[in-house]
Symmetry: C2
């Protein structure tokens, strides 16, 4: 019984089932939310219920693995995005690639929120701060990006664009129109409209997107 880390198992069937479970979990959680019955996951993956729990001690363990895989995927996107020819192209690439990544994974916001409950100390996302700020600084320095925009502003825009993934597959060919509008709004212009309020600290944004606290109640 080596249920802690079946990825490293010697047995081929165990590794295959682990991958299948992860793939089906992404699909299932995208369609029905991260509270979907795990017995259903077993059926979809074509394994017994026991096998689900051998690979993931409980739902939270599965959520954690999806989270860490996601962080790894995002980290893998960084080099290409950061090394674009111009700073402006980096901004474009950042918004497009990350929003697309998010949009294809509608379960990610829920996974982030739950992770904050499971293990508030685990915050690898903080490590993206420098990459995002680097993109903003370069584009601002070359004069293509409006100067009052911060890295956090961009990160929030990415979440907004990616949130259209909640629409389902139908949104895929469509959200790039909103991306184009946003990009036009980000360009440096001779007639700037001041952005209201103050920019947010990256850490505050991180906590916000992981929404620890109670979500906004209607105030009536």
């Amino acid at each position: 019984m080596k249920c802690v880390n079946p990825t490293a198992s010697t047995r081929r069937d165990a590794r295959r089932n682990h991958e299948r479970l992860l793939a089906e979990a992404r699909r299932l959680f995208s369609e029905r939310g991260i509270e979907a019955p795990l017995d259903e996951l077993a059926v979809r993956a074509g394994v017994g219920a026991g096998t689900v729990y051998r690979h993931f001690a409980n739902r939270d363990a599965l959520v954690r693995e999806l989270y860490d895989i996601g962080v790894g995927e995002l980290r893998d996107l960084v080099p290409e995005i950061s090394s674009a020819e111009t700073g402006w192209q980096s901004v474009e690439l950042y918004l497009e690639r990350v929003a697309e990544w998010l949009g294809e994974r509608p379960y990610v916001p829920a996974v982030m929120r739950r992770m904050a409950e499971i293990d508030p100390g685990h915050r690898p996302g903080i490590g993206f701060e420098d990459a995002v700020n680097g993109i903003v600084d370069r584009a601002r320095a070359e004069g293509s990006l409006r100067p009052d925009v911060t890295g956090v502003d961009l990160a929030v825009l990415v979440d907004m664009l990616g949130s259209l993934g909640q629409y389902g597959g139908a949104y895929l060919p469509y959200w790039r129109r909103q991306l184009a509008i946003v990009l036009d709004g980000l360009r440096a212009r001779p007639d700037p409209t001041a952005l209201p309020g103050a920019g947010l600290a990256f850490e505050a944004f991180h906590d916000m997107s992981h929404a620890k606290g109670p979500r906004s109640p209607v105030m009536d």
Copy 2:
């Protein structure tokens, strides 16, 4: 037993409990999602479990009532938004008021999706098409709005901005920066960047936002 429509009940306690239940349901569903236990709703509203089910036959009945109330609230926003002095001000008001309304009600997207399952034929939201198109037409005619933007584009932007409500109360002072960026992207400019793809039919947008179909699976 008049459990079909307790709003019209003669008894004061019944009306008061109905209102309390609705208010607490909004809060509860905002914090924990629309699958939160209804017994918890009973506790929060300070009533017995039986009372919940006397007012709402089941969870779906509650969802439907929240949906219809929401449609009514949005309808009430139309006059002020449409009657702004200029078309551009209407665009600004539309994005701001409706995104704010959505942001304060994080449960709304989930309610819309569930409504599409409960009763696919009930689509009062279709009635907003003319109002939105009217705003776009006027702003376009006066030359303030970029001409390639459609009413559906605006509606999608509203959903995007409103989605930040998922961040919880902390987002409240912040999202207007994104609104300002979007508005700048919407202004008519001498150097237009063409929007990619084709605009969407309003009905298609409606179905998309109510996401009947399966939500986008990761394609790997």
